[in-house]
Each structure stands twice: as C-alpha cells, then as structure tokens.
C-alpha cells in the first residue's frame, strides 16, 4: 500500500493554513486545486497572473482565454483578479506566496531540489520554478519516492542541476511526508500500510523517525 497521487495531494493540503496564498506548479500539484479545503480560505495564484482561481472547468464551460499555469481552463472564484506577468512575479518575489507546491526529479536532504533539467540535456524547462523556489515562504515538493528503475529520488545531494538551494520545507511522496534535515529527512507521516523499514530501504539517505 502507498498513497495515490490524489492522496499525496490531500496529505499536503492538510498542511495548508487558513488564509494562505498557494501557488501550484505544473503536473502533479495541479490536482491540489481539486481537493476540498473545508472551512479554510485558500487563494490559488497561478504564475500567469491569475489570482483566486478554482477548479478545472467542466467540458463545454471553458473560457478559452483563462488558463492556470498548467494550461488548464479553470474557473474564477469570487474576488479573483488578473495581473500581467511582471506583477504576478512581483507578488512571487515579494514574498506573497505562503507556499509553492512543485513537482521535482530529485530532492535533497540539504533542502535543494531539481526540476528543470534532465541528465545530459543541453537546456531544460524552468518556467517560474526558480522564481517561486527562491521567494515563496515555503516550498512543498510532490514526487514519486523512486524512479521507474527503483532509484531513490530523495538524496543526500542532488545529482541534477538544482532549481534552488536549501529551500525545501516539506516533501510528499507515495510513501510518506518528509522534511529535509541537512544529512537526512525527518519522517512526518507514513502512507497507510507502509513501514519505516520500507521507507529506509527506498531512500538513499538517512530517515529520522
């Protein structure tokens, strides 16, 4: 047993506090906007200047000129506003994001993470990840614990070029919830049916339980 991607999203959402401004990256994190927030008032910010968006539109109801960072057509919640890219990243660099949630290839015990460039590639895809990682109040990472080849994505140090240094607050994987501690990761929560031994076996650096 382990967490599905939706359960990973739900587990991270439990960490959100009332009133937070949340930026969701492309890929897995987009699912977070579909998780019920209960009575918490959460504002979603997309890097393309959409403040206060909500769920993905039902087919046929889309406004084709309204997308989130992942290019999905979304709805606007009451109180939403639109700004241009410079103002959108002004809010990001200005520290107005309480948290950014991003996917990654690797995350390291020293708080570094890598999500823009693959091994041996000349270029990559940065998008807004470096700006968000450098300036959000918290950086939450969502990723599968292991690669398809079974290698740990939680590492002592990143092997790929990093997106930002020492910024990661929390990491959720299919196996659990973790916080980088310098030389290893603190285990904050275990997926149901997963044991500490399984996590340790799957991880290339110490897990502090």
């Amino acid at each position: 047993m382990s967490w599905t991607r939706m359960q990973m999203a739900e587990r991270l959402v439990r960490e959100f506090q009332d009133g937070w401004v949340v930026n969701l990256g492309v890929g897995m994190p987009t699912m977070i906007a579909d998780v019920p927030m209960g009575d918490r008032d959460i504002i979603f910010h997309a890097e393309n200047g959409v403040i206060g968006y909500g769920a993905v539109c039902a087919p046929g109801t889309e406004d084709l000129n309204l997308v989130n960072a992942g290019g999905q057509n979304v709805v606007l919640n009451p109180g939403a506003s639109i700004v241009h890219h410079a103002d959108s990243f002004a809010l990001i660099r200005g520290g107005r994001m309480d948290v950014t949630v991003m996917g990654a290839y690797e995350v390291a015990a020293n708080g570094d993470f890598a999500n823009w460039k693959l091994k041996g590639a000349k270029g990559g895809g940065i998008g807004g990840a470096m700006d968000l990682a450098a300036s959000a109040q918290r950086v939450f990472i969502m990723l599968e614990h292991r690669t398809r080849d079974g290698a740990s994505r939680l590492l002592p140090r990143c092997s790929l070029p990093i997106t930002a240094a020492g910024v990661v607050t929390l990491v959720v994987t299919d196996l659990g919830l973790f916080a980088p501690l310098g030389e290893g990761f603190a285990l904050r929560d275990l997926a149901p049916g997963v044991t500490l031994e399984e996590v340790r076996a799957a991880t290339a650096c110490p897990i502090i339980a």
Binding site: K122, I126, M130, D131
Partner: protein, 244 residues
C-alpha cells in the same frame, strides 16, 4: 489622440521587419498568443531573428503557428525563453532538437526574470538585482551582490524591436484591453518594444470607447492594430476554432 493605427492586414503590419530584428511574442499556454502575426512573419521570411517568448511553442495538436515553426523555416538565430524543452521527458518540443544540435542559439531565463527584464527595458531601468537563480547553474560565472544579508543576481534589461501581441479589444489610438489570462506578457512586451503590433479579437473601437480607467495597455506604446477576421475567414481566432 485621433490617429488611427489600424492596418489592413497582417502582412502589411510586418512588411518592414528586417533581418536581425529582435521580436517579442506574447502569450502563455494559448491565451494572448498572436498566432496570425507569427504566421505573417513566417510568410515575410525575415532571417537571423532573435525571438523572446515564454516558450517556443507547445507539443500540442493541431499545431499552432509558433517560434518552432519560424525555426524550422530557418528564420531564427536565437531564442530567449524560459523553456528550451518540456519538463516532461515524453513531451518533445519541435524546437529542442535545433537547440541541442547547435543550429539555433538559446538563452534560458527563469520566467519571472524574463518578465522583469522586459519590464525593465520598458521602464528605462538598465539592470536590477533578483534572488532568482542564485546558487544554480544559471548564475555560474555571473555577477552577484549581497544586499541586507541575502545574495542577488544582476540581470539586464531586454529591449525589443517589435512586439507581437494579441488583445481582446482596442480603440483606434491603440489603447488595449485583454481578456483574463490573455494579459500575461503582453503589456510588458508592448512597453519594451520600439514598435508594437497587435492582433485584436473584436472590431477596433473609436477613440474614447475604452474608459481611461479601464485601459490595460496605453496606446502610447502601441503602433499597429489588425483586426482578426471573424471565423471562418480568420485564422486561429481561438484554439477551439482550429480544433473543431
């Protein structure tokens, strides 16, 4: 303010773009992308261009006019963007192989830094410091500075010869309104450019039809307007119209 900036068609609006020009192209994941102007630039055939945009175009079908197309057309020397490849290894951008092979140069810039460098160019700010990319491969060998105990990277303005943008609405003096996330980079590119060319989704309105408080981009920085013809004559007025 009575000057009418309306051009008869897309080809006329790009007819003077020379080889070697720096072109900024608006749009983010579809909305605000000036597809008709990109197609006109492909027909014009100007070469050795530098193109500035968030991406070089998507991996989606049907394919829309994009920078990748200008690259395939042999018109592009350099691209300045925040993606030279998709982040998902399974999505292959047409542009990537031209870059990896060295046929086209690329400068990869974090999206917020790209936006701010365009904003700086439009604002007469030649350079600024940003926390973004400090400690990464992108900062290697470059100038940084510690300010109030934090380290920042020096970044330079990105001036533009021609901005291609797309708006929902315009008046004849060039005042623009964008609809929803169509806004994105478009206002910044208009500010940064010597000449701003706009494809407009609705009929161009008389001067004064957009209230002064409701203008998103001021006509002062807008030079040429072209009405996107309504479908079925028009090309690419919306993704859906192509996809149908």
């Amino acid at each position: 303010m009575a000057r009418n900036k309306t051009y008869p068609d897309f080809d006329a609006a790009v007819a003077d773009i020379p080889d070697g020009a720096v072109i900024a192209i608006g749009g983010f994941a579809g909305p605000g992308t000036p597809y008709n102007l990109i197609a006109a630039l492909a027909r014009r055939g100007a070469k050795r261009l530098t193109c500035i945009a968030n991406t070089t175009g998507g991996a989606h079908k049907p394919r829309m006019p994009d920078i990748g197309m200008l690259v395939e057309n042999g018109q592009v020397a350099k691209v300045i963007c925040s993606f030279t490849a998709a982040t998902r290894a399974s999505d292959v951008l047409p542009f990537t192989k031209y870059y990896e092979s060295g046929e086209v140069e690329a400068e990869i810039v974090p999206q917020g830094t790209l936006a701010e460098r365009l904003r700086a160019a439009g604002a007469g700010i030649p350079a600024f410091y940003t926390p973004t990319a400090v400690g990464t491969e992108l900062a290697e060998g470059r100038e940084t500075r510690e300010i109030n105990g934090r380290r920042y990277l020096l970044e330079y303005a990105l001036p533009v010869d021609f901005a291609f943008i797309r708006a929902a609405r315009a008046d004849s003096t060039g005042n623009l309104r964008f609809h929803r996330s169509q806004r994105n980079f478009n206002p910044l590119m208009a500010m940064a450019a010597k000449t701003t060319i706009v494809e407009v989704e609705e009929d161009i309105l008389p001067a004064g039809a957009i209230d002064a408080d409701d203008v998103h981009t001021m006509g002062l920085v807008v030079h040429r307007l072209i009405r996107v013809p309504p479908p079925p004559m028009g090309l690419w007025t919306r993704k859906r119209e192509v996809a149908r």
